[in-house]
């Protein structure tokens, strides 16, 4: 295999990596979490929630624009000094580890219920994570290509729920606004669905053409928001918010009710395509983990891929019980999301100040 790992991506690949880093297990469970509070207006909160990815990508753009397109670690060193940059890197590494292991655990949960009842969790987690390590070890360029092609293949998946248009009931989403309080109070919950967009900080410097890079971030945020909103809308439209809040993976339920002649359980096709998405998001997350690890320890990237593998495995095994995972995520995700938000905004402001001082 190629000896040199090239870390250069095009702007289009940047968009697709951002999308693939966010859209994962969420497309199955996002309608559920958002409807708990917002009821039938969940899709509105979902759309408003795209403020989070918009802010993060824009801040990332501002930081790098102000200080030149240096890599993440050097950026932090310039702004916060050596010690804090290490802390921040470790924080991001842990965050992404939590994301990826929760995705992997969720993937296991869906798989174990639907297609691999006979396998032990450790086996599934091992083989999936090994595949991921293998994928991530090829570096960012390969990830960019992968995200691009898998997105096109799996975009079919976002079209499947469209079949509900004929069968749903418009009364399920009426009245359009349940209440403004409910919608507003569930916006933070929608932020969690967009978690993962932090990868923007890590890959932005590697985009080749920096022209209009600002809009690339916007585009991907809007595409993600549209995917989520469409899915949430259709789920509520078809199931009603009452059932949506009762089922952990409502989109999967919709898939089960699609009837085509040769396959009695359409879910399997869905999982087949959806696995591509999951493997992609895991690979993106894993790239960040190994990237930060290799920056922190000065171990070559490819080696650090394999070194970090046991940690991610351990985290995942810990995350597997669905109930425990939810409790853990409920208690950590809000802090993570707000910390990331505060970090990116302050970094953007400081970088601006530095530039102004420099002038």
């Amino acid at each position: 295999m190629s000896k040199v790992i090239e870390n250069k991506i095009t702007k289009r690949q940047y968009i697709f990596i951002l999308i693939s880093a966010v859209v994962g297990i969420g497309i199955l469970s996002a309608p559920n979490s958002i409807c708990q509070k917002a009821e039938q207006s969940g899709w509105i909160s979902m759309f408003i929630g795209c403020l989070y990815p918009l802010t993060i990508t824009y801040c990332a753009y501002l930081c790098y624009k102000n200080l030149g397109f240096i890599d993440f670690y050097t950026l932090n060193e310039k702004i916060y000094g050596k010690f804090f940059s290490k802390i921040i890197s470790i924080f991001f590494m842990l965050t992404i580890t939590i994301y990826s292991s929760s995705v992997l655990a969720g993937f296991y949960n869906v798989l174990s219920k639907e297609i691999t009842i006979f396998l032990q969790p450790s086996i599934i987690v091992t083989i999936v994570s090994l595949t991921i390590v293998f994928t991530a070890s090829f570096g960012l360029q390969s990830l960019g290509r992968l995200s691009e092609i898998v997105f096109y293949f799996s975009s079919l998946l976002f079209l499947f729920p469209l079949f509900t248009i004929k069968r749903g009931d418009i009364t399920n989403i009426l009245p359009i606004i349940s209440s403004f309080e409910k919608i507003l109070s569930s916006i933070p919950a929608s932020f969690y669905s967009y978690a993962g967009i932090e990868i923007s900080f890590f890959i932005l410097p590697y985009v080749i053409s920096k022209k209009n890079i600002k809009y690339a971030g916007f585009t991907s945020s809007i595409i993600i928001a549209l995917i989520y909103t469409l899915l949430t809308f259709l789920t509520i439209y078809y199931l009603g918010f009452e059932l949506t809040t009762k089922i952990y993976y409502p989109v999967l339920f919709i898939m089960e009710t699609i009837e085509i002649s040769i396959i009695s359980d359409f879910k399997i096709i869905f999982i087949f395509l959806w696995s591509g998405i999951i493997l992609k998001i895991l690979a993106c997350d894993y790239f960040v983990i190994s990237y930060v690890f290799s920056k922190l320890t000065h171990i070559p990237y490819k080696k650090s891929c394999f070194i970090t593998w046991p940690f991610v495995m351990m985290f995942t095994i810990f995350m597997i019980p669905e109930h425990g995972r939810n409790v853990f995520l409920e208690n950590t995700l809000p802090y993570i999301v707000y910390t990331v938000l505060i970090y990116s905004i302050t970094t953007a402001i400081i970088s601006k100040l530095k530039v102004m001082k420099g002038v």
Partner: protein
């Protein structure tokens, strides 16, 4: 070093894979129908008969009915597995039957199970039976291998007449139970000389069966609660079957809700269809005469609908038309206007419009 690690990993993976515990297809019992009965007086109340295929090879397929008796739905599996020679596989079932007694007793446990157990087939058909479901499963199917396929066929094509809704499946059952302003309404199947037959609808209150409504009344309830289903309507003159208008119609429903001291539902029923028989006119139909026929049907259907509505509001006192959901859509999912009392007080106006798209090929 790398190669050794790789080999160790490969060996471990091969040792711990699940392929040693799997059972090939011929060791599975293929379930085709599940029934839910109850024996109220016994200690073990739940009786779940299951219909499954028995394969004899060479294309020969027989069936086997295996009842499980236990305290709960899943304990019946305990009971059944003690006599079954094969592995139990859920997910292929095509039919769920619930006996009337069981439904009257309440099916909360079943509804919860259907949501929680991912293995269940969400597109299986579901119906209420007159007596024990076991009795229905032991009927002899005529043109199918199993009675479950026969009954699910009946349910599948029920929407072609009597304005039955298109989907009488488990997912629709869950929708009806969970969505605000709706209630479970399922077809009612009776034993007609050893053959299953749809004889009406069952209306639930919550998870308990409340009323069984015969087909004659259910016809007009179906006309309002379903959409784009088919039905045949005839107007007889002097009760003579030879002199009549008959149409085949597809129903389109549009409901407006308003609130002035009480709920005002305005149900716009549009029946689009074709004229099938006309023995009243003896000349070729003109546009005016076609209008007349339409008008006659409009009046007739309005009258029948009003009668049904009156009966429902006064006798059954719960919403059998599935129209409370429109109120929920207008006034919010938590509105106090969705109660049964409000429904009884409500003013329900029906506006019927009949459109004859096709007058047939007869020129007279």
């Amino acid at each position: 070093m790398k190669k050794i690690l790789f080999i160790i990993l490969l060996t471990l993976l091969t040792t711990f894979t699940g392929c040693y515990e799997m059972e090939p297809i011929e060791n599975l019992s293929i379930i085709i129908g599940i029934g839910y009965d109850i024996e109220k007086d016994a200690k073990k109340k739940i009786v779940d008969p299951i219909e499954m295929f028995v394969f004899k090879g060479d294309g020969e397929v027989e069936r086997l009915i295996s009842p499980g008796v236990a305290e709960t739905i899943y304990n019946t599996v305990n009971d059944r597995q003690t006599v079954m020679s094969k592995k139990f596989l859920v997910g292929t079932e095509k039919l769920y039957l619930i006996s009337r007694e069981r439904a009257e007793y309440g099916i909360e446990d079943l509804l919860e199970t259907l949501i929680r157990d991912e293995g269940r087939n969400e597109v299986a058909y579901v119906a209420i039976t007159e007596g024990e479901t076991r009795h229905f499963f032991s009927m002899i199917p005529i043109d199918n291998t199993s009675i479950s396929e026969a009954i699910s066929g009946i349910l599948k094509f029920s929407h072609l007449a009597n304005f039955f809704p298109k989907e009488v499946t488990i997912k629709e059952l869950l929708f009806m139970y969970n969505q605000t302003g709706r209630r479970i309404i399922l077809p009612y199947i009776i034993d007609d000389n050893g053959k299953p037959k749809i004889a009406g609808i069952c209306v639930f209150d919550g998870a308990k069966l409340k009323y069984t409504i015969p087909l004659e009344e259910a016809f007009y309830m179906n006309m309002i609660r379903s959409r784009k289903s088919d039905g045949y309507i005839s107007i007889l003159k002097e009760n003579n079957p030879k002199i009549c208008y008959s149409i085949k119609a597809k129903n389109f429903i549009n409901v407006d809700v308003d609130y002035k001291d009480r709920l005002i539902y305005t149900i716009n029923v549009t029946l689009k269809g074709s004229l099938k028989t006309d023995t009243i006119h003896n000349t070729a139909l003109t546009a005016n005469e076609a209008k007349e026929i339409e008008k006659a049907f409009e009046e007739y259907v309005t009258e029948e609908l009003n009668k049904t509505i009156e009966k429902v509001q006064n006798k059954y006192k719960i919403d059998c038309f599935d129209i409370t959901k429109y109120a929920a859509a207008k006034f919010g999912k938590h509105s106090p206007l969705l109660s049964d009392e409000e429904f009884q007080r409500a003013q329900i106006n029906v506006k019927v419009k009949v459109i004859l798209v096709d007058l047939g090929r007869s020129m007279k």
